[in-house]
């Protein structure tokens, strides 16, 4: 396939490295994972990777360093992450490729070759040796697009390989092609005026930089380059004089003119190598039939039925109450939704031969259908994470797997339900009494239960193992695990960017754009990770608002899971009220912040990737990676918190703290003083804070639900209350200490303010 060029093998003193560069969401990270065998996050939306990652790979000429970069549309950068990618390329390359030891693998979305070639021509100007990797070859075939790779190869003068990263296809070819990497033989002629400008600026570029590329960046008005080159004021003045004199000859801004000329140049290459057949691949007829005639009607019916069910749930208080009227309402709404969906789809989509994923992709951002689908998705997540994860699994982990020191749990049964028969079959009984029980037995062989050392680990209220470790693992594993599983499904199918399309108008009200949906939803998983992701937002103002709102009103999954389970099982009404209060605070604070903070809103221009069938393997891998990350962050803090609590309770200081907190906690919020403990733990972890609030209320009232109004106030405060410690550290790192202090200085009093007002309102009604 590849023309063999004989090039002298150079064994440089440095380890050679290859940088993976390309447009957003083309599969760079997927290729990186395949090359290096390590894992970085792969998701179906542009802007997954915001930081550079490095790994090593065994190439055919020895070990090479592989660098994954954020996606770029233009190497004359327009945003922070594009700048990161550009800088990676500038550091390694040089005007003389033989001196530089960095090669580039340009990963391209084969079905979007125009946009890839735009970058290739820029890489050529940077003088970098490139291998062009046409990834997503499968989707290219599916859409009837054929690319003459042989011709492309000879036009560009570089190796061109085809890969399908998700199927691990073509990686061998890619590795084999690496040594043949060469500078693309492309030279865009920008016309007399711009070329003259380039030749006037080139002498000002210091050695070691690609002259033509740098000159074009300067002409395009990229100020960061001037800084990077360490230009003095006079040189900068010189450059801008040249720039202005050229600009005067164009009615368009120079950067736009440059882009247009480049695009026209690329268009010729594209026309010569790409043929699009009108025929597209269709989904399998059987799949199609079952999708349109079984799945859609059934799902639409369930949708209508469920939404009515939820409405009834919120208004009637309890799940189980279904009088005949309720049943009729539900059936009617189910039928209505079924008819609507089918009418919509059968009118057009059934006849035009569209694939199932295309239809799903459209439905999930359809002006009407998208909202019931969203509600159902949220409901499914609530069931999975809130009820099954936070309820059943946490309970099982806490009571059966960990158990209690001193009391045997009595073991558990392994069983499975028999469908339709309404009964369970027990396989056998597991006589396991819980880890803590056995540890307790072990401990009691050495010391008495009154011994301080024993209590440090196994005390029922503040033992490091009995409380700290047990909660951390029993809570984090099921809740966070299931949440990230659901989240991974949304990410990989391409649902998240569609959510951004749906919510853009609402987010504009709070000074953000639809793009901020990604960090905000990720914030439900873990605020720490999400704060890093705010980098995809364009302006400082947006990043600050997103960080603030996340710290204030987005509970993390562990916390939300615990809350959803307890509240949901007590009263649907109170849970709805809780969600409403938190959401209204989010919007209110966002709205005010968007008015107060200086700066404008940025443009919303976002690529919507195609809807794809998620790969289970990738989701599981991603979930495992994130849970591991989460545990590493949560466990130490749970232990530290428990240790602090232990010291406080053993020295008796807790009493004084409760006393000191009484004016706020008891008088203002109307809560029992014991809950002060929960707020202290909330400083470390919000989820831990929520759990110990429950425990405190349970101890005082006998059951959590005895005083739903108190519970509501407590949970609203702990949700709005400070972000957890790790999140706070990331806020400092990303936004700076001053902003972080301001954010905290606002959040803490505000949380108590809202809680107090809520308490007053609840009392009067």
């Amino acid at each position: 396939m590849l023309k063999k060029k004989s090039r002298p093998q150079k064994a440089g003193p440095h380890t050679p490295s290859i940088a993976l560069v390309g447009n957003p969401n083309v599969g760079k990270s997927a290729i990186f994972n395949l090359l290096t065998g390590s894992y970085v996050i792969v998701s179906n939306y542009p802007g997954t990777t915001v930081e550079v990652s490095r790994g090593t790979c065994k190439g055919i000429d020895g070990r090479v360093e592989v660098i994954d970069t954020p996606g770029v549309n233009n190497l004359i950068p327009q945003s922070e992450d594009e700048r990161v990618a550009r800088d990676i390329l500038l550091r390694g390359g040089g005007a003389t490729p033989d001196k530089g030891h960095r090669r580039v693998v340009q990963v391209a979305d084969a079905k979007n070759l125009r946009r890839a070639l735009f970058l290739t021509s820029q890489l050529a100007e940077m003088g970098l040796p490139v291998v062009l990797d046409l990834n997503m070859w499968d989707e290219c075939l599916e859409r009837g697009i054929s690319i003459d790779t042989g011709k492309l190869q000879s036009l560009l003068g570089i190796p061109v390989v085809r890969t399908v990263a998700t199927e691990k296809q073509g990686i061998g070819h890619l590795l084999n092609a690496l040594p043949q990497a060469d500078v693309p033989s492309l030279k865009v002629d920008f016309g007399r005026e711009i070329e003259e400008g380039i030749s006037r600026i080139e002498p000002l570029i210091p050695n070691g930089y690609p002259r033509r590329a740098m000159a074009l960046m300067l002409l395009s008005g990229d100020l960061t380059v001037a800084e990077k080159l360490g230009y003095s004021k006079t040189v900068q003045g010189e450059v801008s004089k040249i720039r202005n004199s050229i600009q005067r000859k164009f009615s368009d801004p120079l950067s736009y003119a440059i882009n247009r000329i480049r695009a026209a140049y690329v268009e010729r290459l594209f026309q010569e190598t790409v043929y699009t057949a009108p025929k597209r691949m269709e989904s399998h007829p059987f799949l199609r039939a079952s999708f349109f005639f079984f799945f859609v009607p059934v799902f639409a019916f369930a949708l209508g039925y469920k939404i009515m069910d939820m409405l009834l749930f919120f208004f009637q208080g309890y799940l189980s109450s279904a009088p005949p009227l309720g049943l009729i309402l539900k059936l009617v709404s189910g039928m209505a939704s079924c008819i609507l969906f089918c009418l919509h789809l059968y009118r057009k989509d059934l006849r035009t031969k569209r694939t199932i994923s295309e239809v799903l992709g459209d439905l999930t951002m359809h002006p009407v259908a998208a909202y019931p689908i969203l509600i159902t998705a949220l409901w499914a997540i609530y069931k999975l994470v809130g009820v099954f994860g936070a309820g059943v699994c946490v309970d099982f982990m806490e009571k059966k797997v960990f158990g209690y020191a001193g009391t045997p749990s009595g073991g558990f049964d392994l069983w499975f339900p028999v469908p339709f028969a309404g009964k369970d079959v027990t396989l056998f009984h597991v006589p396991f009494n819980g880890i803590n029980y056995y540890l307790g037995l072990l401990g009691q062989m050495l010391v008495s239960p009154q011994n301080l050392g024993y209590q440090l680990f196994l005390d029922g209220q503040a033992g490091l193992i009995q409380v700290g470790l047990t909660y951390a693992i029993a809570i984090v594993f099921p809740i966070v695990g299931f949440f990230f599983l659901a989240f991974g499904l949304m990410e990989d199918s391409g649902y998240l960017p569609r959510l951004a399309v749906m919510l853009d108008k609402l987010f504009k009200r709070i000074g953000l754009t639809g793009k901020a949906v990604l960090p905000m939803v990720l914030g439900l998983g873990c605020g720490t990770m999400a704060t890093l992701t705010t980098r995809i937002l364009d302006t400082r103002k947006e990043r600050i608002i997103a960080t603030l709102l996340m710290a204030l009103a987005i509970p993390c999954s562990a916390q939300l899971g615990v809350i959803a389970f307890v509240m949901g099982s007590i009263s649907g009404f109170y849970f709805a009220l809780y969600v409403f209060i938190i959401a209204s605070q989010l919007i209110l604070v966002g709205f005010v912040a968007s008015k107060i903070l200086p700066g404008g809103r940025s443009d919303f221009i976002m690529e919507v990737p195609p809807f794809r069938c998620p790969k289970l393997y990738n989701i599981l891998l991603k979930t495992a990676y994130r849970v591991k990350w989460f545990l590493r962050e949560a466990v130490p803090l749970f232990l530290i918190g428990t240790f602090a609590l232990f010291i406080l309770s053993k020295t008796g200081a807790l009493k004084y703290i409760e006393l000191a907190g009484r004016p706020v906690v008891s008088n203002w919020l109307g809560l029992p003083p014991e809950t002060a403990e929960g707020f202290i733990l909330g400083f470390l972890r919000r989820d831990y804070g929520a759990v110990s609030l429950f425990k405190a209320l349970e101890r005082v009232h006998g059951s959590v639900g005895a005083e739903p109004a108190q519970l509501l106030v407590a949970l609203v405060v702990i949700t709005l209350f400070v972000p957890c410690l790790a999140n706070f550290l990331v806020i400092i790192k990303e936004r700076g200490i001053a902003t972080a202090a301001l954010i905290i200085g606002f959040i803490v009093p505000y949380a108590f303010l809202v809680g107090g007002v809520l308490n007053l309102i609840m009392k009067t009604f």
């Binding site: 079905k111 125009r114 395009s220 008005g221 005067r248 009615s251 950067s255 399309v501 443009d603 919303f604």
Partner: protein, 218 residues
């Protein structure tokens, strides 16, 4: 026809009002035309009832305003013609347009306007005063060039030009492949505008889409 000098002055007064929202004053005239000619030109304008004086401010009469609008219209249409059809890209565009505006008669202006599809804005993003032809076209037939926002879902069109004062926006759009000549299809308009171009689907603000002008493909 009106004298070129007077047309030139009327054009300047009109753009001054458009740009700063303020009346022009007499001492500005000398920056715009040969200072020696100021007095005679002003006398001529007053005589033809294009302007009247209010202290030292020059106020356009209804007739003068109409005359000025015609000049501006010819100037800006000429710019569009030079840019879109003749692809003149130098600073000569402005000066050539300034020459055009003085010798285009009404009939030629109308046919240029029709040829260009009754454009709304000049290449600098300024509004082109509509002529009778534009009003008629709006009623009778669908305009050839219109804002992306006016397309209905499912319609296909080719980008004709993008007028925006906002340069980063132009850079972003053009590096994603949205340029004059690109064929786009409106995928949906609610809750947010989504367009399809080639294999790329793009969600866009309405503010941005408003400045993208497209030509319907039939």
């Amino acid at each position: 026809m009106t004298e070129p000098k007077i047309e030139e002055v009327l054009e300047h007064i009109w753009t001054h009002e458009e740009e700063f929202g303020k009346r022009a004053s007499k001492d500005m005239l000398s920056q715009w035309i040969d200072p020696q000619a100021v007095d005679t030109v002003l006398q001529d304008m007053l005589r033809q009832k294009f302007v009247h004086m209010y202290n030292s401010l020059i106020v356009l009469t209804a007739m003068g305003r109409k005359e000025a609008e015609q000049v501006i219209r010819r100037h800006r249409l000429a710019e569009r013609l030079l840019k879109d059809i003749l692809e003149v890209k130098h600073d000569t565009m402005d000066s050539s347009a300034c020459e055009f505006e003085h010798f285009l008669n009404d009939e030629v202006t109308t046919s240029i306007c029709t040829l260009l599809g009754h454009p709304v804005r000049c290449p600098h993003g300024k509004l082109i005063p509509p002529g009778e032809c534009c009003q008629r076209a709006k009623k009778i037939l669908r305009p050839l060039v219109l804002s992306l926002l006016e397309l209905t879902p499912g319609e296909e069109a080719k980008v004709a030009y993008i007028t925006t004062e906002h340069h980063p926006r132009l850079d972003r759009l053009s590096s994603m492949g949205l340029l004059p000549g690109t064929v786009i299809r409106v995928h949906q308009k609610q809750p947010t505008l989504v367009i399809q171009m080639g294999e790329t689907q793009l969600a866009l603000d309405e503010d941005i889409a408003r400045d993208i002008y497209v030509r319907r493909s039939h």
